[in-house]
């Protein structure tokens, strides 16, 4: 018993003190996956805020975007054109989703809409695999001008290695968030989108229909997904296995709240870093791979004490 407690609560710190460079490396790894979790969660929050849809397909949109890019390139389309076409595809997807799904399911219960996005999820998997094939693919990292290679630092007596692609991922994620912030705060459409979260009437008074807003929001989420897909694909393969990883956006959302953009980012980083730390320092105690479930437990424990999330308001129940 004591041994286990020691393993859980004491040993990690001994190890950290013993090899601080490893600790920093793990932190960095966690930070990078956290960034990606955050991006998936971000796409999710965009949609949830504006249309109340719990979009289960956000993870698949990430894969689908990346797959389209790789697939188009493989079919002989120049990389830059493929990228532009992919943006077009994401727009088409947003338009199609609004046309086929949202418009017909307006005013349904949340769970029905949630189920519809699971259906969309399946459709996209089948569609993507049918067009581009099911086998994992390699991202065309250098072709679209992303750096490869790594920066190596001498830190605390050890060597910390930062992949350049990871660094650019973080930078691009930052830029994306900044861009979205500008879009939402400074543009007319952006303000309308913010209004729609609170009041549909107000949004329509700006002169945009609800349908248009849905398309825009899903498109924005699609762009976020495409970016995420490129980054993620550059780190590993482009394959539908990613959709399972994308479920980690859920605990991120739990931490950050379903409607908060800063929450998504902070939540993503917390989940990313903590799962890597847990895996590295606690994983060996029970045979490893605990990062597959650790974030969910973390979110659960968190929920127990704060059911409304990190940035959510306290719910007063009324009768």
């Amino acid at each position: 018993m004591g041994e286990i407690l020691h393993g859980i609560f004491i040993n990690p710190f001994i190890e950290i003190a013993g090899a601080p460079d490893l600790f920093v490396q793990v932190l960095w790894e966690g930070f990078v996956s956290g960034t990606l979790y955050a991006l998936i969660a971000l796409g999710f929050v965009l949609i949830f805020k504006a249309s109340g849809v719990f979009n289960f397909a956000q993870g698949i949109m990430v894969v689908f975007g990346a797959l389209s890019l790789v697939g188009l390139f493989a079919a002989g389309v120049p990389a830059w054109l493929a990228l532009i076409l992919c943006i077009g595809i994401m727009f088409g997807l947003a338009w199609g989703v609004e046309r086929v799904v949202l418009r017909n399911l307006v005013n349904q219960e949340p769970i029905i809409l949630f189920m519809a996005t699971i259906g969309l999820n399946y459709f996209l998997i089948g569609f993507g695999e049918f067009i581009f094939g099911g086998e994992p693919k390699t991202m065309i990292t250098s072709e679209i001008g992303l750096p490869t290679g790594s920066f190596d630092f001498e830190v605390l007596g050890g060597l910390v290695s930062l992949q350049q692609i990871d660094v650019s991922a973080a930078v691009i994620a930052g830029l994306l968030v900044a861009g979205l912030a500008v879009f939402f705060n400074k543009t007319r459409i952006g303000r309308a989108l913010r209004a729609v979260a609170d009041d549909h009437q107000a949004a329509m008074s700006v002169g945009i229909t609800l349908q248009q807003i849905w398309v825009i929001v899903w498109f924005a989420a699609g762009i976020v997904a495409l970016t995420t897909g490129i980054m993620w694909g550059a780190r590993s393969d482009v394959s539908f296995a990613l959709s399972i990883v994308a479920l980690k956006a859920l605990p991120v959302l739990i931490l950050g709240g379903f409607t908060s953009v800063p929450g998504a980012i902070v939540g993503g980083l917390i989940i990313g870093i903590s799962e890597k730390l847990a895996e590295f320092y606690w994983g060996p105690l029970v045979g490893g791979s605990i990062e597959s479930w650790f974030p969910y437990f973390l979110a659960l424990i968190f929920l127990w004490f704060r059911p409304q999330g990190l940035f959510g308001e306290r719910i007063i129940e009324r009768v």
Binding site: F54, V100, V101, N104, L105, Q108, E109, P110, I111, I112, F114, M115, A116, I118, G119, L120, N121, Y122, F123, L124, I125, G126, F127, E129, F130, G134, I244, L247, L250, P251, I254, F258, V286, G287, G288, S289, I290, S292, W293, Y296, F297, A299, L300, L303, W304, P307, E317, V319
Partner: protein
């Protein structure tokens, strides 16, 4: 049109509250049961029994389990695969420890382990609702998957890391294992599913079912009229998991014959969830309809395209079709096949009048 109800009157509450108060329905269900028990085993070939009948029944049972939790008690769960796995691994361990115990009893007992696990993962439901709760069930799903893969004791330290089903006999008839005939396994599965469905129908019609639905429809009002939320939700979690557990045990022991962690992964959770949604939340009939539809649709597609396109493409197309159909059905009738049947039945009862 087919319903002629004139002269069917009830002189007691038990007759009025029967599962099938209309005589035509009662006759119908007996005909179906007779067909399933007396005709199917002797006329259907191995492919039909193994690939269609047995899995449909097993998934229907899992769908009933999930339906109790999600459809009746209103608690969204994405952990069905994990609970099914609990049943399967429990069954393996039980039959290892008690090799002489009647395998049917073992299968029925293994559900209790799933129920216990479901109980534990249902605890957060006191404070967590809706989509937030889905995360709790995801936690159980991934944790259980992890456990099934990592804890070698669970799969008897088999080199393959998989469950290998031993042969078990009752009255010298092989029920499980490679020697068991499709017919035997079908009949065992059918019997268990029929009995458990009957039990489920008893539950949902009575006090427990009403409490679940009350919690689902308006938990605050339910609490104020004296329903204990936690115990109601926990019973739903336990019973639901029991059903999933038994379905999982049957899946491995009476259908697949062997199973790995992948048999209980999150995709199975989704598969069963689809069955429930497409079949109809809050309906036992819906569980059967949903299971039959979702399970057999790809088979149907495969046999339709099988000759012209390669297997992988058929797989992809079936994914697309399933996805599109889910959306289609949600648009046409968000409450699933069961509601469609209900509406059709209502129309038949009112025929020729529209109302």
């Amino acid at each position: 049109m087919l319903y002629r109800e004139t002269g069917q009157f009830k002189t007691s509450y038990s007759a009025d509250q029967a599962v099938f108060p209309i005589r035509q329905d009662l006759v119908g269900i007996w005909l179906i049961l007779a067909f399933m028990f007396l005709v199917v085993p002797f006329t259907f070939n191995d492919f039909w029994l193994n690939s269609i009948m047995i899995p449909t029944l097993i998934f229907a049972l899992a769908a009933i389990g999930l339906n109790i939790l999600t459809g009746y008690a209103g608690q969204l769960s994405l952990g069905t695969g994990g609970f099914m796995g609990c049943g399967a691994y429990a069954c393996l361990k039980l039959t290892t420890f008690f090799p002489d115990l009647n395998i049917i009893i073992v299968i029925l007992m293994s559900g209790f382990f799933a129920a216990a696990v479901g109980f534990i993962f249902g605890l957060p439901s006191l404070r967590i609702k809706g989509f937030y709760l889905a995360v709790a069930t995801l936690a159980s799903q991934f944790f259980l998957e992890w456990a099934f893969g990592r804890i070698a004791w669970l799969y008897n330290y088999a080199d393959s890391g998989a469950i290998e089903v031993p042969t078990r006999r009752i009255f010298d008839i092989a029920i499980t294992g490679p020697h068991a005939s499709s017919m035997t396994r079908y009949l065992v599965v059918l019997s268990i599913v029929v009995v458990l469905t009957w039990v489920a129908s008893n539950l949902v019609r009575g006090r427990f079912g009403r409490s679940w639905m009350a919690v689902r429809d308006m938990d605050i009002a339910a609490e104020l009229i004296g329903i204990r939320l936690l115990s109601t939700k926990l019973t739903a979690f336990s019973i639901s998991s029991y059903y999933c557990g038994v379905a999982g045990a049957m899946m491995v022991f009476l259908w697949l014959g062997a199973a790995e962690v992948e048999s209980f992964d999150i995709n199975h959770s989704f598969l069963v969830l689809f069955m429930v949604i497409i079949g109809g939340l809050g309906s036992l009939l819906g569980a059967f309809l949903g299971a039959a539809f979702i399970w057999n649709l790809p088979i149907l597609l495969r046999s339709a395209f099988g000759q012209t396109i390669d297997a992988a493409s058929v797989e992809h197309i079936s994914f697309m079709v399933v996805g599109a159909l889910i959306i289609f059905f949600l648009i046409v009738e968000p409450h699933g096949f069961a509601r469609m049947w209900q509406i059709a039945k209502e129309k038949l009862r009112l025929w020729p009048f529209p109302y």
